[in-house]
Every structure is written in structure tokens, then in C-alpha cells.
Symmetry: C2
Subunit: 314 residues, 2 copies
């Protein structure tokens, strides 16, 4: 039997699990709830039990499993150790060792969820066909993952791909969650885009289609107004695109990937968003016309299970 690999994406609400062929075909995917009570001590046993049951149903022997990869929503040290994972209640443990034990010896590897999702997009998503990509996830926050030579660059302190906290904006006066000020996330996340729109509406008196949403405006509203040609919404998106383009150029001049893969809820705005980012990305990468392309992510919420499974293929 062809070997299978398992991808596990541990989120704060549910754990997504997938069983894959080594060529990247998804055979089966399902979810289990994330039980966070008692410092998340039930999470891994739940996952293991669910996987063992599914393997049994599918008639897959342990020997036919190349391994199980796992994305964890927090920093993971090179040996799999997790000092603290606020979202799950975990502290000072090695989930990859523990899950390996619970799965009766199936090899387990793990990584930070944003990095693992980037690996998934490289394998079967927007970065398919490339070996070096940087993923940028524009969601509630801004996450990232750097893949060089088909491997995650996790960094020696778990900060690899933490591009949401790149400082881009000197004039920002509010603090970011990280303690810094002027982080990319503060302007380019869904939250950041909505805030930028609220600030712009408050600062100016011009009419704008955005005003009907008032303080409840979302990033999607801003993008919809911008696409419809609203001048103020376009200005907000130019600001967002300028800082994103700046950060991508800085990354390009550091690791020079073949492609930047843009994902997360905000990326549903599609090519319209890519075009705004690209204008500034090109401007700030004046040294060369020949730089990594900008493209859209394709796997959505499944990127994590794809990347986790891909972890096991070396």
C-alpha cells in the first residue's frame, strides 16, 4: 500500500485533521473540537483517538503511515518544545513527543501554524511549483511563513515569518499587541484596515460610501467600497497597500523568494488587492525588475492540514 501522511492543524476552537497520499491528494478530512479545559490536557488524546479510529475505519495500518505533522498556534522550538501556547493553555510541554506516544509510535513532527500553512500553500496551493515562497496571511492579525528550499525557516527563537510585527509606520501612536508601535499588523490586518477606515472617516469631512457602516465597518466593507470606486476607501487601501508593499520588498531583499502567496480573509478581495500591493512592492524594490511574484493563496483553511502532512515528507 502506498504510504499515507496525516496533517493536523490545532486551532483554538477545532482541530482539523486530514489524511493524504504522499503526492498531496487529500483522502479524508474532518474536525474535532478543541477541548481547552484543564490547560488543554485533553486536546492531544482526543486527536490521537480520533486519528486511530479513522485509520481503523479506512483500513490503514500504522505501518502504512509515513507520519503525522501538526501545526500549533504559537511558537514551537526546533525540537518541538512549546514553552507557552496561550490559545490552548499549554505550557512547558513537547506536544510532538506526546502525540507520537499516543499514536503508538507513528512519527510526529510539528511547527508553528502560520509556518505550516505556508508549507501547505507551497505544496498544493498558490505556491505550487515553487521551492522558495513567503506566505502572508491577512486575517484578524497578519501572519507569515518563510519557506526556503521547500523547508520552513522557523528561526532560532521562533520568530521566522513573524512579518505582522515588522515595523513599517513611524507615525503610529497606538501600541500593537506585541508591545511595539507601527507594526504591519496594525494597518494591514482585517482589524487594521477597519481601524484605518474609521480614523480616516473621523479625520475628514468628505462624503464616502464607507460612512453608512459607521464604526461597525469591516475590512470587507472597505474593500467593497474601494472596488466600487469610493475615493476615501481607495485612499485607505492605498495606505494599506503601501505598507504591505514596503514589508514585502524588505522581505524580498532578504530572502528573495520566487513568490509571495497572499492569504487570509482580506485576500478574498483578490487581484484588486494584489494590484495595490504590487504597485508599492515594485516601487520599494527598485534595484531589480526581476523579483518574486505576488499571487493568491488557494487552500483557505485547509492550508494547515496540507502543510502539516507535508512536514512528514522532509
Amino acid at each position: 500500500m502506498e504510504k499515507k501522511c496525516i496533517g493536523i492543524d490545532i486551532g483554538g476552537t477545532t482541530v482539523k485533521i486530514g489524511i493524504f497520499e504522499t503526492d498531496g491528494s487529500l483522502l479524508e478530512k474532518w474536525e474535532v473540537p478543541t477541548r481547552k479545559e484543564e490547560q488543554g490536557k485533553y486536546i492531544l488524546p482526543d486527536v490521537a483517538a480520533s486519528i486511530l479510529e479513522k485509520l481503523s475505519q479506512m483500513g490503514i495500518q500504522k505501518e502504512d503511515v509515513a507520519g503525522a505533522g501538526m501545526g500549533v498556534p504559537g511558537p514551537v522550538l526546533p525540537d518541538g518544545y512549546v514553552e507557552v501556547c496561550v490559545n490552548l493553555g499549554w505550557r512547558d510541554m513537547n506536544p510532538q513527543e506526546e502525540l507520537g506516544r499516543l499514536l503508538g509510535g507513528i512519527p510526529v513532527s510539528s511547527g508553528n501554524d502560520a509556518n505550516v500553512a505556508a508549507l501547505g500553500e507551497m505544496w498544493q496551493g498558490g505556491g505550487k511549483g515553487y521551492r522558495d515562497i513567503v506566505m502572508v496571511t491577512l486575517g484578524t492579525g497578519v501572519g507569515g511563513g518563510v519557506i526556503i528550499n521547500e523547508s520552513i525557516v522557523a528561526g532560532r527563537h521562533g520568530l521566522g515569518g513573524e512579518i505582522g510585527h515588522i515595523h513599517v509606520r513611524d507615525e503610529e501612536k497606538e501600541h500593537c499587541n506585541c508591545g511595539g508601535m507601527g507594526c504591519l499588523e496594525q494597518v494591514a490586518s482585517a482589524t487594521g484596515i477597519a481601524r484605518e477606515a474609521r480614523r480616516t472617516m473621523a479625520k475628514e469631512e468628505r462624503p464616502s460610501a464607507m460612512r453608512k457602516f459607521g464604526d461597525q465597518i469591516t475590512a470587507k466593507d472597505v474593500l467593497d467600497c474601494a472596488k466600487a470606486g469610493d475615493a476615501m476607501a481607495l485612499e485607505v487601501m492605498e495606505t494599506v497597500g503601501r505598507f504591505l508593499g514596503l514589508a514585502l520588498s524588505q522581505i524580498a531583499l532578504t530572502v528573495d523568494p520566487e513568490a509571495f502567496v497572499i492569504g487570509g480573509g482580506v485576500s478574498k478581495a483578490g487581484q484588486f488587492l494584489i494590484d495595490i500591493i504590487e504597485k508599492y512592492y515594485k516601487r520599494y524594490t527598485a534595484i531589480s525588475q526581476n523579483t518574486g511574484i505576488l499571487t493568491l493563496a488557494k487552500l483557505g483553511n485547509d492550508a494547515g492540514i496540507y502543510g502539516a502532512a507535508r512536514l512528514m515528507l522532509g
Copy 2:
């Protein structure tokens, strides 16, 4: 006989060559002039002849040479191809293949000189003992090299480690050589520091120890004045350190190296310079107290031959 490896650093004036043990001990080093006439067609034959003669003098057989690495002052594509190397007159050639032929089959590998120097500093210099470093060379320009897992991240378009062209300064109104505006190199190279000092002197009327140098002031003069406590020189260096610290934090949040190794002529200012950079680097990397250290390069002009030799050790 223990295998040897050869490191070659091709500069615009001289070619530096070294013969090393595989443990990094330098057995012999020497230079040959870089003959740039006729599109640099004599450079590689000169290098090959000089190496073959030296090996013969030292009683080293070709079979005892693991290989020869070469640093080239320009972009090198992954297969060793050089589209154009302005400094040498080379165009559309593969110097690594050509040198291999001239050396009668000794394996040859090559890379961009700044990247190769970074590898040298990782191997036997300021980054010794680390596997992931970023080198920052503050010379006439600002160069860089990114090393992850003991390998150069050259990038898919040769832009890996081109950190001198990271945009850091919006208020800059002059163009950089690269065509951009506000590049790190414009403020943090030796040339940039001197220019910043001239601008500051012109803008302000305060007395300063820098004024006696007038328009001939050098980066070393600025640093000497700053070390001696001159207020205006200190302000200039705070500006320089702020932009350097910003760029290093952006790099840390992308690849998270264990160490940044600071080299080049400007780095002769030593710990004084490191301290200024570090203040801002920490400020802009607020997300974690635990980030790559800043340290000084150690190999000076020999970094290139060390790194070139190290290329051959995989």
C-alpha cells in the same frame, strides 16, 4: 593526505586566494592582480595558473583538493551563470564552469561575494558556532548575506541579502544607485554616514567638533567625534543606528538568525556602534526579548576566501 579546499575572492583590483584545511585552518594565502582588460578574459586563466603553480610548490595533488570556491562581485544565478558583472567586464558566462575546466577538473562552486563573505564569517569568524547568521557589511555601500542552516540564501533572482537596498527612510529625496530612494545604504554606508554629517552641519549652526573636517569629513571622523562625546556627531550616529536597527529588526522577523555579524570599514568603531544599533533593534523587535545577537565580524578582508573555501564543504 587530508583534503584541502581553495577559496578565491575576485575583487575589482586583486584576486585573493587561500588554501585551507577542511577544518578551516588557513595554510597559505596570496593575491594576484585582477586584469580587467578585454572584458576580463584573463582573470580566470591568471587565477588558475597561479593556483596550479602554488599547489605544485606545496606538493598538493589535484586529487587532494576537495574543490575551489569562488566569490564573484555581482549577481550569480543558482547554476553559477553570470549575466553581467560590471566590476570585471564579464557578461553572459559561467565562470565556475570555466574555472573548473582551467583547473583540470577540480570541482568549482561560486556565489556572490557578499554572500560568500557571510558564509566565511559563519565558518571561522564572528558567527563561528552558529548555523543561521545574517552578515551586514558597512563599507562604501551596505552589503549583506543571509546564511540559514549553514547555507547561503542567494534567492531566486540573486537578491538574497541585498539589505543595503531595503527602504528605510521616507524623507530621503536623493536617489540611491539602485534607482530607489531612502535605501539603508544611503544612510548607513561609510558614504552615507559622511553625507548625513555634512547635511546636519549645513542644516544647523551649532558648533561641533565635526566642523573642522568640513566637506571632507569621513565616516571615521564622525564616529571618532561621536565617541569623544560631540553632540552633533552623536545625533548623526543615532540616525544611522536607528535605520540600521530598523532594518535588522525587519530581517529578524523574517528569518530570525542566531546572530547578526557586523563587518566592513565602519564596523571598526566596534562595540560603540553595536550599542547604538542594538538600542533601536530592540525597540523595533518588541515582540520578543529573545532575538539574534549583534556581534562584530572577525575576518576582515579574508572573509571572502574563507567563505569561498567553505562553499566546497556543502
